[in-house]
């Protein structure tokens, strides 16, 4: 099958578009999370998403609305992580661990109560970007617009908070508002990303493109832009390669992200060694 033929399918176009939008969103939010050493929040939220999907399937909501139904639970959980990370007695990584354990535990118990692991739950665990529906595409587009507006409008605040939260507070920046928005948007991105890479690999979309971009040692603004470029390229290449080689799209997208990271890391190391 030729590339033109692959791209002529409506479901492939929908998958490509949704994938590009979600990957762009994750790669933007990921820059702030990685730099604030909160990379694992994607993993935590993915586990919560697993629990939320199990709850939704257990209740018996139509699979068409699973994404919409899981959103509030994941958003609330993201705020719980934020609240716990602010606690003086619980470290950020432990807070993420607590919430993600609850997500997984709830998921396993509910899956067992509903008669074992069913196909639907597995499809969310490993993702299937080609099954993205119109609602999810629309949600991805809305999220993309919101994230772009959020970053443009709060760019200076986000930059300051990412650099040093205390310093940002001393400038009168409402860091609480910035953090709440960042966590809620990340929660929505994590839910939508489960169709792209699957719950198991959501955090890869949040971590790998920013990390690749950071290897280039460029300005903050350019780090965000380059992160988005790598994320979009990985989704496009991933879908095409997965189609051509009959591989799962989610895993292929992540592997391509890893290849990008290794190439850029290698180039950056060579450049540094030559510079010495």
């Amino acid at each position: 099958m030729s590339l033109g033929e692959i791209l002529s399918f409506a479901f492939v176009q929908r998958a490509m578009l949704a994938g590009v939008l979600i990957a762009a969103v994750c790669s933007i939010l990921g820059v702030f999370l990685v730099l604030r050493r909160m990379s694992l929040i994607g993993d935590g939220l993915a586990h919560i998403t697993f629990g939320s999907v199990a709850v939704v399937l257990f209740i018996g909501i139509s699979p068409l609305y699973i994404t919409l139904a899981a959103l509030p639970l994941v958003m609330i959980s993201s705020l719980a992580i934020l609240k716990l990370t602010r606690s003086k007695k619980i470290h950020g990584d432990a807070a993420i661990g607590i919430v993600s354990s609850i997500g997984i535990a709830v998921g396993i118990v509910l899956a067992s109560l509903s008669g074992g692991y069913n196909v639907d739950l597995f499809s969310y665990l490993f993702g299937n970007i080609l099954t993205v529906n119109q609602t999810e595409l629309l949600l991805s587009f809305i999220l993309f617009i919101i994230v772009i507006c959020y970053v443009i409008y709060f760019y200076h605040d986000l930059f300051a908070v990412t650099f040093d939260e205390e310093l940002a507070r001393s400038m009168g920046i409402k860091t609480k508002r910035i953090n709440i928005l960042l966590f809620i948007l990340t929660a929505v991105a994590a839910v939508l990303a489960m169709k792209v890479t699957g719950i198991m690999l959501v955090s890869a979309l949040l971590i790998l493109p920013p990390l690749t971009s950071l290897q280039l040692s460029i300005s903050f603004r350019m780090t965000i832009i380059v992160s988005v470029i790598f994320a979009i390229l990985s989704v496009i290449c991933g879908i095409i390669v997965s189609f051509l080689l009959n591989l799962p799209a989610g895993g292929t997208i992540v592997i391509i992200n890893v290849i990008f990271l290794l190439i850029i890391f290698g180039i950056s190391r060579c450049k540094n060694n030559l510079g010495k």
Binding site: L35, R37, K88, H156, D157, F159, A160, T162, F163, D164, E166, L167, A168, R169, S170, M171, G172, I173, L214, S217, I218, S219, F220, R221, M222, T223
Partner: protein
């Protein structure tokens, strides 16, 4: 009538139930150069963090530029250099130019950027990433950031710990110049009492509560302070900046 830039009333702050600041009441007037000193853990940085709204006090009130802290919005009037630069993420991708402009509503003013980078002698580093610089260069970049908005109030928490003696002396002369000729109000926290004696007009000595508040001359002649520190220690502190006690 003198204008109070900062005023605190009966300020109390606790970390995990332990009182770090007790009943702190003082005022800083426009154009003042206040030195804040005290032993480690005496609450100097905590006091500044309370004043800047980073940490909420348990009790008491704070006003900035005549407004209660909760209503204060003119943050561009304040330049702040925190003590904790060691926590800087060395992988942070911000350039020196980006860091200098860091903050809310800070529109790029090329002339101002150039000026503060020149002041700190780091103009040649403007495109370098902050994480790639030496500690001293990072400190100078952060000082440039504090000065960028031409603040009316400059709060410096241990500003010269990583600077070489030449840069340190130049920096203190610059603060003196800003204070004397541009009327910038300055609060300087340092353990270097010699520096405080040479540059600060007033001294606030903290040890969880205010031990002393007044001019350095008063500090050096105060029998209370002689009692607090012991006469020998008081003499050493005052001798460091070539002022003699009576």
């Amino acid at each position: 009538m003198p204008v109070n830039i900062i005023r605190t009333e009966k300020l109390t702050f606790c970390y995990d139930g332990i009182e770090v600041l007790q009943d702190i009441s003082f005022a800083v007037q426009k154009g003042d150069y206040l030195g804040v000193a005290g032993p480690n853990g005496s609450g100097k940085s905590t006091l500044i963090k309370n004043i800047l709204g980073i940490l909420p006090p348990r009790e008491g009130s704070i006003s900035l530029f005549g407004q209660p802290l909760a209503d204060f919005r003119q943050w561009d009037k304040i330049g702040y250099l925190p003590q904790r630069l060691a926590a800087l993420n060395n992988h942070f991708p911000g350039t020196v130019r980006e860091i200098v402009q860091l903050g809310v509503g800070r529109k790029e003013n090329i002339q101002n950027i150039k000026q503060v980078l020149q002041m700190m002698d780091i103009e040649h580093l403007s495109s370098r990433l902050i994480g790639e610089l030496s500690y001293g260069e990072q400190q100078r970049a952060m000082l440039a950031r504090a000065l960028y908005g031409k603040p009316e109030l400059l709060i410096l928490d241990e500003p010269t710990t990583a600077l070489d003696p030449q840069t340190r002396d130049n920096f203190y002369l610059l603060t003196q110049e800003l204070n004397r000729h541009q009327g910038t109000t300055i609060i300087l926290i340092t353990h270097d009492t010699g520096v405080l004696g040479n540059y600060a007009r007033h001294l606030l000595y903290l040890d969880k509560k205010i031990v002393f508040s007044g001019t350095f001359e008063d500090f050096c002649t105060s029998p209370d302070m002689a009692g607090f520190f012991g006469q020998a220690s008081q003499h050493i502190i005052c001798h460091q900046h070539d002022r003699s006690i009576v």
